[in-house]
Symmetry: D2
Subunit: 333 residues, 4 copies
């Protein structure tokens, strides 16, 4: 018997992707998957792509989770803190929600409302020092989807002094699964196909998370909903300092990274190329005329932006190779 | 008999949209539609959406065009100048290509290559003074698709001194029809569906055109190819001067505009809402934290970004109401 | 002042398309648009594509509708009969719902449940004798979307004895707007993009309507949900009798039809070519090896399948040319 | 060192999917991937989803393939026979093309043209007796994509006498990758998004293959191009004999199948649920009114319809568990 794993909130999109990854993971054995309104349902009725997986959803709660060695929390923001507090200390927990991401309680309250539950180890392994911190933690807050795409592009440049941390401008577009599985008119296929629309302009809750993860001092962030199920393409621009070539910095930073690929010069990231994988594709250029570095970053929002990221963290927490059970390669076309 | 109209380059996407609009135009009578490799084809074989239109494509050239009162040139960049030079002076011409858009010959050569053919009246009617200039011209260079979406958002703000003309940052995503109808692997449905990818980063040929139309002094522009047939969503950010509220400036500028709508506060543009129309939807906000004005702009790249725009100009050139034959309302969902 | 028109149920997809068409109709003046939960909302908040239309939704009921000369009912099935009964006899009514389509009360109860409200004149103008019947009626039941696509393909063949009325097999795929605007998880963009799925197999409520409209004696009908906002492609197969060539029958039947186009041999219908139009594109072939006639039919489910159809009927009811305010040409690509 | 594997025709969609599967296969070691015009290119330049795979395409030919223990041929129809003839007898070969699928030389010539190269063992493992035949072969012709989806639905019903083999009617829609990666205008994203269109009606080259695989005596087959990159949904109807319940037959046939899932009653296949997997989802019902059995079948055309199928066959040929390196679960949403 391997490491016993449970997934709370398995009826959503991130939960479904976790189950798919775990079904192919050689060391993690899925022992429970929980939901609330869908408790009692066969998994294939909730996630048709998992037909053939013999599993019934059970009610979310400590009783169904505490017996596991590892628990993934894929719950709506604001619900994981209370549940996590009821789990035994010995259970390792990776929270895909936002409850424990921010160190700044004021920022948390401002963007999420309610009381801040305290910060956990931040789960973006490719940040400096993050692998060791994650490996030594029993509680890890996996990064948000936009934050993952943007931080992988930006954090090394600020850390290396290659760009100024002020006046960073980001526009990032996400596939619709990033907006969750709740039934809403504005997320209907009829509304989103053929459509691009911005939302939460200048007010997205990932702004403080990105600042925390990257050291950006000011950040203009415009999220856009794009007509595809998955994928995030982030365009990150900042002013170069001239201290180092941005592309060289990224190339050096990720030279040994399994999942982050700086593309050859002239090639630009495609979100479709990351579908179903835990990879991030990056490219950078300096636009001399406009005085801006432009870095573009592509991930699968449910992969590197959620479930893949979380499993990567869990691998580190259990001293497994971080690529265990994860795919570097996307499913395309 | 009304005004006799010919369309050169009718086999492409902009050409097809021109034919569709002209078929419903009460004053313009289509007398010729031309193409090169498709000359001789029935129009419905080339544009299935025009089944029922009794028309055969003829060879592009002065012989097939000079008899018209009005000629639309929807040819690849670099081909319209030579053809236009062969048309009688009395024929009014609207060029949907780039050949005559730029006043700066050096910029033209740098971005398009070859010899600059000289500038015509720039065909974006909503710019200050443009309606009168267009009405008084026999040669008009219709604006590029990205340039239309971005200039409508940005030009009034710079003109009013509401934003600084330096360090403008734009990310704009376009549907695939903006890339034309030539058969290319990277434009196959299998490649573009589910995919977002940047291209020509910092090097798009619309940069000098946007600067010219808006007065921007420096402009970082990242174009993105989006998985939809039509539509452009432009996110334009610039630093506010504090001299005027950007949204108020836009509202005042377009108070009497038939096709440009500043949406109510809290509503953001959807590209799908402009499909098939000549409308542009705008929204603006000031993000105090990041010190950026963010304006988003949505158009149909073949409508306000190409064929609709061109017909609007032609209406002005023939002293017709500018809305004649054009739709304000989009086809959605 | 022209003909005064009201739309009940204007917040749904068919209602929105009706408003779009009516906004460009030269004889019909929109005087009221009603909704229930959305009553009080500005139309552009409900239908962003109608930005620029100065209209506020009012509560659905006889009080807001009875003052019109013409009322379109775009309500959920089962709601129009009660409302229609409260409208003055002199008001002409076109019902886009199913309440009054079926002559067979038993069939109505079996497929829709509840009590049959009685049949009105069936609103598919291209059926034999239908134009005159519609023109002479004050109450017309517009045809269902699938029924329109399928009946236009099949009815002439059965009427001409070109195919057997038994063992007709139909598979038809529809864009998601055909499933309405209610927020449902299975209609989310994340679920429908990239997906084809059958539903209501052998049990769709349009089966009795199609039988009634076409004379089919037995009909196997499999509807499929397709990843696009609009469009129906119906594949209709039946056994040829040899009495007449099916394509010739269709060509002769629709020789003078404004909206129904039998494509040239070798060309097959594209749903995208009918987007936003009131057209139907048809093609037929006889597959000698399998002993089947195959007719394919493409429409816009909100155009010829709903709002366009309804306006066409209304035009006839007011002795206007049936094409008034309607487009023959689709918006493509 | 494991089993040495080469892929010929690695630049196409099936070739790319083969490389992705092989990269995660624990027993097959990729030693060569070949192409023609793309020879010399880095694999990530041709397949961006394979960024991180250290591989350069080499020229297709016996010299680059003969050293392998196993060769997959993913070449255009008509090209594999000549190449296969030049490979040593000891090399096991799985051909994803059509050259060796048909036993009937006349049918081959009629549908493909040219000279028939002879039949190999047919590579659909779930057909009766097929696993043993494949395991004992050194040359296997993997099944066509439509043929796979349709045969899995139909073959057991005809074999069990549950349906009549005459007058089978099939409509099946495929994602665009099924049409290959050649640059063609009708396959551009602008043309296919939002569009459904039939093609090769009654004349598709898979008709004789399906008849051969299923025992169908007459088959009406209408293929439809659908607006999604991957996936086939086949709707198969036939007349029931009454000898056995069709759904029971399918359930019994596939009780032990790893990749073919008969869904619970009331659930219908979704193509998206099979994305990236080697699974086939089936559902069947008897429509008493119309006298038709309706079976719907969903696969990933590049998975069970091409590359997954081929690897499954190869697993059998090397006496590995047939699921080795293949996924049962789809990537969704």
């Amino acid at each position: 018997m391997g490491i016993r794993v449970a997934v709370a909130g398995a009826s959503g999109y991130a939960g479904g992707e976790l189950l798919r990854i775990l079904a192919g993971h050689p060391e993690f054995d899925l022992v429970a998957a929980t939901a609330h309104t869908q408790a009692g349902a066969r998994i294939s009725a909730v996630h048709p792509q998992l037909a053939g997986l013999d599993l019934t959803l059970v009610e979310t709660g400590p009783a169904t989770l505490a017996d596991a060695d590892l628990v993934f929390l894929a719950l709506p923001h604001g619900q994981s803190a209370a549940l996590a507090a009821q789990l035994p200390d010995g259970v390792r927990v990776v929270d895909l929600g936002a409850d424990h991401r921010l160190a700044d309680a004021d920022a948390w309250t401002r963007y999420y409302g309610g009381t801040h539950a305290g910060a956990w180890t931040y789960g973006l392994p490719e940040l400096p020092g993050a692998r060791a911190a994650i490996a030594g933690s029993t509680r890890v807050a996996a990064t948000g989807c936009y934050a993952a795409a943007i931080s992988l592009a930006l954090a090394p440049l600020i850390a290396a002094g290659a760009v100024e941390p002020t006046d960073v401008v980001v526009v990032a577009a996400s596939g619709t699964s990033g907006a969750g599985r709740a039934a809403k008119v504005n997320l209907l296929g009829s509304e989103v196909m053929g459509d691009l629309t911005p939302y939460k302009v200048g007010a997205h809750q990932h702004v403080p998370e990105i600042k925390q993860a990257t050291g950006a001092a000011s950040l203009s962030f415009t999220p856009v909903l794009a007509p595809m199920p998955r994928g995030i393409l982030a365009t990150v621009t900042a002013r170069p300092t001239g201290a180092a070539d941005p592309r060289d910095v990224l190339t050096a930073t990720y030279a040994d990274a399994s999942f982050v690929h700086v593309l050859p010069e002239g090639a630009w990231p495609h979100t479709a190329a990351t579908l179903g994988s835990n990879s991030c594709h990056l490219q950078a250029t300096v636009d001399v005329d406009s005085g801006r570095v432009i870095v573009t970053s592509a991930i699968d929002n449910l992969g590197k932006g959620a479930a893949g990221q979380a499993v990567q963290c869990a691998n580190l927490m259990f001293d497994l190779p971080e690529t265990t059970g994860l795919s570097v390669f996307g499913v395309a076309p």
